[in-house]
Symmetry: C2
Amino acid sequence: MKQITIKDVAEAAGVSKATASRVLSGHPATSPEARKAVEAAAGRLGFRPNAQARSLRNTRTQTIGLLLPDVRNPFFGDLAHAVEQRARSFGYMTLFGNANENVEQQDEYIDVMLSQRVDGVIAAPQGDGGNLSQLLRSGVPVVFVDRVLDSIKVPSVSPDNSTGIHDAVKHLTARGHRRIGYIAGPQSTSTGRERLRSYKEALAATGADTDADLIFLGDFQAASGAEGARTLLDLANPPTALLAADSLMSIGAVGVCNERGIAIGTDLAFVAHDDIDAFTLINPPLTVIAHDIDAMGRLAVDMLMSVIGGGSPASHTIPGRLIVRGSTPEFEKERQS
Amino acid sequence: MKQITIKDVAEAAGVSKATASRVLSGHPATSPEARKAVEAAAGRLGFRPNAQARSLRNTRTQTIGLLLPDVRNPFFGDLAHAVEQRARSFGYMTLFGNANENVEQQDEYIDVMLSQRVDGVIAAPQGDGGNLSQLLRSGVPVVFVDRVLDSIKVPSVSPDNSTGIHDAVKHLTARGHRRIGYIAGPQSTSTGRERLRSYKEALAATGADTDADLIFLGDFQAASGAEGARTLLDLANPPTALLAADSLMSIGAVGVCNERGIAIGTDLAFVAHDDIDAFTLINPPLTVIAHDIDAMGRLAVDMLMSVIGGGSPASHTIPGRLIVRGSTPEFEKERQS
């Protein structure tokens, strides 16, 4: 098969070879129209940057970019800290970009990171990836962390989104719960999709109720957790246990329970995601599904260093672990019967 | 008075004018020795970059740098979000550096930001400022946020570290407390120093006990809050109320109370700093001293835009506000007497 060259891409896009080259190397001095035409042609023809294109980027800046979805989410704060500390041990500084759960903002950060000539990018990607494919074509090493994309294959380190949820549902049904409400993450993210799928599988496996109205689709932010708790608790036949797919939605949901005088542990069992400090301070402390965030951050950096060095590291999964605390005690009604 | 020129600095430092110029413009291709010699000479002679030096930096990158002390502290996560959103409204992207409460790490980020040619820097400075003076000499606009330095005068937006603490101590003494323990922030930061001074003034003003052993010096991180709570609660004559100078130390201290079965609100009054979501979920929710973080972030960006445009904006203070919640109820012993 003929190797697709930059010349082929330029002809298909109707631009000069120099323009195509600038777009494909991520040079900032290109028009949006040219970028669009060249990107489309490169995608259509299946253009892949070669080692020579990579070696053109011969100026090392000793910086990596870290693209996060939400700097206010404690999970990503901890992840940022882990990545930065590990990168520093390799002599790299980490510059963060906060995409704010917004693809357009992620795209702007990718432009900035390209023009700042970072040596590599660790990203927890948004939506369909946006400009991430441009980043890859420009030859910048990329590793995904926490989230993955079906459309873009790069080495990744992601949480096991199955075991912890299966264990949580098994734990709740063993405690007598049959109606387990679920506040899901956005279905545009792999973590949101995989966790919802695991919840459904676990319900089916344990014989718990599988009513569609036990599921509320949130967006990983606190307000949607509050809305989810209100919606689920207002059901004619409300759940006796709630499970939320991240820490911020858990915070929103617990706030609604407090407002309504619903005693967590006594009136309602609750399982949160992510083992953040604050969850152990709530009375009773929250049962959580946790992943080793430090390990995730360290591995992401190690893998990026491998890619920068020309390697092709295998992807990794970080196990999920159920930590049982006071928010999921024996179910009162069962004990009394 | 004769204007100090780059030539004067070069002669005093014993380097070429080109080297002095590179150092003073923040060019990355300089040796540590040259940087040290030129910095020292520039400081000794009182060299100040002029408008011409600034105009040499004529390539706008439309990025600003944000130097934060601790990305895991929810206060700074919220501040980062506020800065980034406001900067974006001016067409600027924000790159974060996490100094991790460490001057050396802050210095490395300053080097990175200089070589990345950011158009300005918003910093919550560490210790004595380290390379911050180099940043200023290179002509990069700088605004301080949250913390200030005695040694470096730039426009700043900082919290009022007096009113909230005075109100908290008045509130606690009105509730019958005379022994108010204080978990202080590091005295190398302006916030740590000013808050401790306010605590002492407030004790004197209200007539509460002023024993030196009621004060524990922490470092704004959770572990030191836990250690502080243990130390203060183990006193022969322990405090009946605790006040902590930031959110992370508050989290550490509340954790120790839970471990020991000390009921906050009933056995011990507690006042935290910063109005983070998690504090409203604790039962009883925590009384806090809060500042409007969004306003602080917005103002810092507005002031930096003014400096970038050649202005000299006045510094601002953001008022502190006591929000009374269940952790500081009427003092039982007083009610019973």
